[in-house]
């Protein structure tokens, strides 16, 4: 049995145990930044390997989600990769997860190399966001850079050049906080670098987000080695400004001034919600098991409503200068000039 533990800024501890160890490695590529030696009292305890679900006296939905109080079991598939998972203690302090994917089908990228990343995307991430929200925080889908003790956030959907902006700003002497996700605690920004190795690879060798096939092969070898990051990661900083990016097929950068603070917060909320539907195939929604659970137990209140989301964000962004930018799909370095508000 191999264990690996992550400590997310002392708010949350995750322990992952598995018999097969290259599988833990795959997940480690996502969370390596938070790895710690402390193995005790995890808030989320994950066991990867085959298991028999405890389906006695369950409610069920769509013949797929099996639910009882604090318990969900479901089987799902994405791009022909099938998996099953069981979540216990949903509304309690400690969540126990069992997860198993049976077949590896080596034909579909990206699950080809790391089929267990499915676990991160479909199971762990929604639970993590929920847990951290309960602790008064907000997991925001945004990149961030740091200078003179202040954090500059860059939010946007995938393909909005968040990573490119972060790369380019690092060249200009800004420090790295995260390229994809941050955690907000009122006006404080904490780093939450998903796949820091992936970003490191881009930073070291490419200097841009787009990759061709040979570069992808090199990336694969690089991830197997997964060396420590070649740059400094700022753990914590205080919020200075936010830039929201929308990719367009217009030729140049354009400042959108019709959006007010409420509108901007809504955009952040929609951004967050879309994150649950974008990577996956037609008819799939990540975190749908939460809704299934709420269908059976409508009295449960552990999931935040959209209003609570907006209030939590309001607490962070009230009085913070922001800017909404339309950027062309094709990246050019001079875009950064209009990006930051000082």
């Amino acid at each position: 049995m191999r264990n690996i533990c992550y400590n997310i800024h002392d708010w949350l501890k995750i322990r992952i145990s598995s018999l097969s160890w290259h599988l833990v490695e795959a997940l480690n590529c996502q969370y390596s930044y938070f790895q710690t030696e402390d193995l005790f009292d995890p808030d989320i305890d994950v066991q990867i390997g085959d298991f028999d679900p405890d389906l006695a006296r369950c409610f069920s939905l769509d013949h797929k989600y099996f639910i009882k109080k604090n318990f969900i079991f479901f089987e799902d598939n994405d791009k022909k990769l099938r998996w099953k998972t069981q979540i216990e203690g949903l509304e309690q302090d400690v969540i126990k997860i069992k997860f198993f994917t049976s077949k590896r089908i080596y034909s579909r990228y990206p699950w080809m190399f790391f089929p267990d990343l499915i676990f991160h995307l479909y199971v762990l991430q929604p639970l993590l966001e929920m847990k951290l929200f309960k602790r008064g925080l907000f997991v925001l889908h945004a990149g961030a850079v740091h200078r003179h003790g202040k954090a500059y956030l860059i939010a946007g959907r995938g393909g909005a050049h968040k990573t490119n902006f972060v790369l380019h700003l690092m060249e200009k002497g800004y420090d790295y906080i995260s390229d994809d996700t941050v955690i907000l605690d009122k006006k404080d920004v904490f780093s939450f670098p998903h796949s820091i190795s992936l970003f490191d690879f881009i930073y070291r060798y490419l200097g841009r987000e787009e990759m061709n096939l040979t570069e992808k092969m090199r990336l694969f070898l690089f991830l197997r080695r997964s060396p420590p990051p070649s740059f400094k990661v700022i753990d914590r900083s205080s919020l200075k400004s936010l830039t929201l990016l929308i990719p367009t097929n217009r030729p140049d950068v354009n400042i959108v001034d019709r959006v007010n603070l409420e509108g901007m917060l809504k955009m952040l909320v929609f951004n967050q919600t879309m994150e649950r539907t974008s990577y996956v195939s037609h008819k799939t929604v990540i975190g749908k098991f939460f809704d299934a659970y709420r269908f059976i137990f409508p009295e449960s209140t552990f999931l935040p409503t959209r209003e609570e989301w907006e209030n939590r964000l309001m607490r962070s962004f009230e009085g913070v200068p922001f800017r909404v930018l339309e950027v062309p799909v094709r990246w050019q370095n001079h875009f950064t000039e209009k990006l930051l508000i000082d």
């Binding site: 409420e262 709420r294 269908f295 409508p298």
Partner: protein, 345 residues
């Protein structure tokens, strides 16, 4: 060559469907809303144009590389197994919405249940009439609404109720008005798990019988691997029991559970919560396109779409008796008789 169909849904929504370059796959499309077909319409709320078009996607924001969004305009492409279709929606914020759809032949079989249904849901909801996923039967002008996920037993309960002399409003989707319901009658989807002829005492036409026999044979020969669906006109199945609208008497939420159990007089919030989740589970495509549009134009009223639906459900159900029933996975006659007792009780 083109065909034009006009549909009038209870005077709540008027739809025009133009089919260019007709194809034999269209029969499914043409049958779906046949119950509401009319000769002509004076005003149109939703116009759907099926045929090739070239999307005008200049100056658009691109969300997730899929949705092309501009004020009052969305274009996106969807794939489902071997079917693909492209949708262009013009006037999404306006009273009249114009939609262009182009697709491959398989797409023509999929779009009625996906995009077109979703557009109807969307237009009905913006006009204040949410389309609830559920069946409805009734007696003496009062209706009972059963909302459940697919496969829970909506259809089989409906058949059983109709057999006992109840009126039929719908077995899949119900339009919710102010304390009243309107059926949305689409062709009846026949499965082999129950014998409709024996259950309702209706006689199918020889052609239908022949078709059913062959499909059932195929079903048994392939050990249930190939299950071709058969749709019948609702008229053929429910005949004289069909009614259009009624006052809403009671709402039931059904779901699978370990045993038969009923929660009486549940809070309105719970029922609305369940109806909304059920609604959203039915239309991921609509959720996606509304998100993309609201993301680009957060200040416009469509960004409150789901809050408004929630409020509409709340308003139209306030004061209506509501219950939640957990029923066993195996829907036996005994289960139905318990449900029947609860309803008539």
């Amino acid at each position: 060559m083109e065909k034009i169909h006009f549909y009038n849904f209870h005077n709540l929504l008027r739809v025009q469907v133009i089919i260019r370059r007709p194809h034999w796959f269209d029969s499914y499309l043409e049958n779906t809303f046949r119950h509401y077909e009319v000769e002509a319409l004076n005003s149109i709320d939703l116009s759907i144009d099926i045929g090739p078009f070239s999307p005008k996607i200049g100056e658009c924001a691109i969300v997730d590389g899929k949705y092309f969004v501009r004020r009052d305009y969305i274009y996106y492409k969807t794939k489902y197994k071997i079917a693909w279709w492209e949708t262009e929606i013009r006037g999404i914020e306006k009273e009249r919405t114009d939609v262009g759809i182009q697709c491959n032949p398989f797409g023509r079989a999929v779009i009625p249940g996906e995009t077109i249904y979703n557009l109807i849901r969307f237009k009905l909801a913006t006009r204040g009439y949410p389309l609830v996923h559920g069946s409805a039967v009734g007696k003496d002008g009062g209706a009972y609404l059963f909302s459940a996920r697919g496969g829970t037993g909506k259809t089989i309960s409906t058949l059983n109720f109709v057999k006992r002399g109840f009126d039929y409003y719908s077995d899949d989707s119900v339009i919710l008005g102010d304390h009243e319901i309107f059926g949305l009658i689409v062709p009846f989807n026949l499965r082999f798990t129950y014998d409709v002829e024996a259950l309702l005492g209706v006689k199918f036409s020889p052609k239908t019988k022949r078709e059913l026999f062959l499909k059932r044979l195929l079903y048994f020969l392939t050990l249930g691997q190939i299950s071709l669906f058969t749709t019948l006109e609702a008229k053929e199945v429910f005949a004289a029991s069909i009614r259009e609208r009624a006052l809403l008497k009671k709402v039931y939420i059904l779901f699978h559970g370990p045993e038969f159990a009923i929660e009486n007089d549940v809070p309105l919030e719970w029922v609305v919560n369940d109806l909304l989740i059920n609604f959203q589970f039915e239309c991921p495509e609509l959720i996606g396109l509304l998100l993309a549009y609201s993301y680009c134009y957060p200040e416009n009223p469509l960004s409150h779409f789901w809050e408004r639906v929630n409020q509409q459900l709340y308003d139209s159900l306030s004061g209506v008796e509501s219950h939640r029933i957990s029923i066993p996975t195996l829907y036996s006659d005994e289960v139905f008789s318990r449900v029947y007792q609860e309803v008539t009780g």
